[in-house]
Symmetry: C2
Subunit: 193 residues, 2 copies
């Protein structure tokens, strides 16, 4: 997605070897017009997939996911993080390790919002090591729902996330794909949409 | 807002004396069409206030806030929760006590996203005891920004939040105002918009 790549070039900040900070339009401050454009792009790609729900994870997945859901006119459900290990039979849970924060989050979605009748588009802000994506796909599978695909705002191609997702048979659609960081600048691979 | 009141009547669940659970369209599963309608309503009320930013707090404030920002065509910034007391001079912080979770969250916004040039609409999902609202208003004031008002999805009139907000001179606009819970049913007071 050209508009997103331009925005990353303009406002993204490369930190060290592996980190891209996009807190000025995605992860802390959010550009709603860009979110709406991204949501429409996801909706175009998945318009014939019979999506009934968009699933994401708090916090920075919520904005892109809710606009994808808006464009598809389906509900969005976001997995909640919690460090307490409250076992509640009403919840479907999974563990997600965060490399950037070095913590494991116990994430969960209420059973009543995901069933075997659902076809799900999972949306998240980043695909890097694939931890959040795997956790969300685990939850959707545990619910018995069908997975239409994984919609990603920014993929880091040099990390193993995409390979992990594709190995489990999940279609990945990334709006921007970062091949590498060279001298603090972003080099893009061809995006999926 | 009639559409919201109808939805609360239909899908809200009253738990005990004081809790309204709206996880089927606002706090866990999110109805994007309703969020868009709410965002437009906030934008109509504040269209002449010169809003430059919408400020909210993760996680369930994000969806209504990003649609208010979308309707106003301004950026949305959400305060991040963190239990670590990392003092970073780049952050403006405040403490927010959660009655439902019985924890104090240290919430923060980066200085670079709020300045004295901003006029802010603060948006949150609930106004009950006013803890989150107070924390967000503190942050906006510390940034030297002007506060145009507080946009609330659901206000519980029988709790002191609104009084606290108005005592500090903040205009409160609630789309649904709950006067009381009677026999597990919601009784509404007149909404602000």
């Amino acid at each position: 997605m050209k508009e997103l790549e331009e925005r990353i070039k303009q406002d993204g900040r490369v930190l060290g070897e592996e980190v891209l900070k996009v807190d000025s339009f995605l992860t802390h401050q959010v550009d709603p017009d860009l979110m709406a454009a991204m949501g429409q792009r996801f909706a175009e790609v998945f318009k014939d997939a019979g999506i009934t729900k968009v699933v994401s994870i708090e916090a920075s997945g919520i904005a892109p996911a809710v606009f994808a859901a808006y464009a598809l006119h389906v509900p969005m459900v976001f997995a909640r993080k919690s460090k307490s290990i409250t076992m509640d039979e009403e919840l479907i849970t999974s563990d997600v390790f965060s490399f950037t924060k070095q913590v494991t989050n116990h994430v969960s979605i209420s059973k009543k919002f995901l069933t075997s009748a659902d076809t799900v588009l999972v949306v998240d802000d980043f695909l890097a090591n694939g931890q959040a994506g795997s956790g969300l796909l685990d939850i959707v599978e545990k619910a018995g729902a069908k997975i239409a695909g994984l919609g990603i705002v920014i993929e880091k191609v040099f990390q193993p996330g995409r390979k992990l997702m594709e190995e489990r048979g999940t279609k990945v659609v990334s709006l921007a794909r970062i091949a590498d960081f060279v001298d603090g600048k972003v080099e893009f691979a061809e995006a999926d949409a």
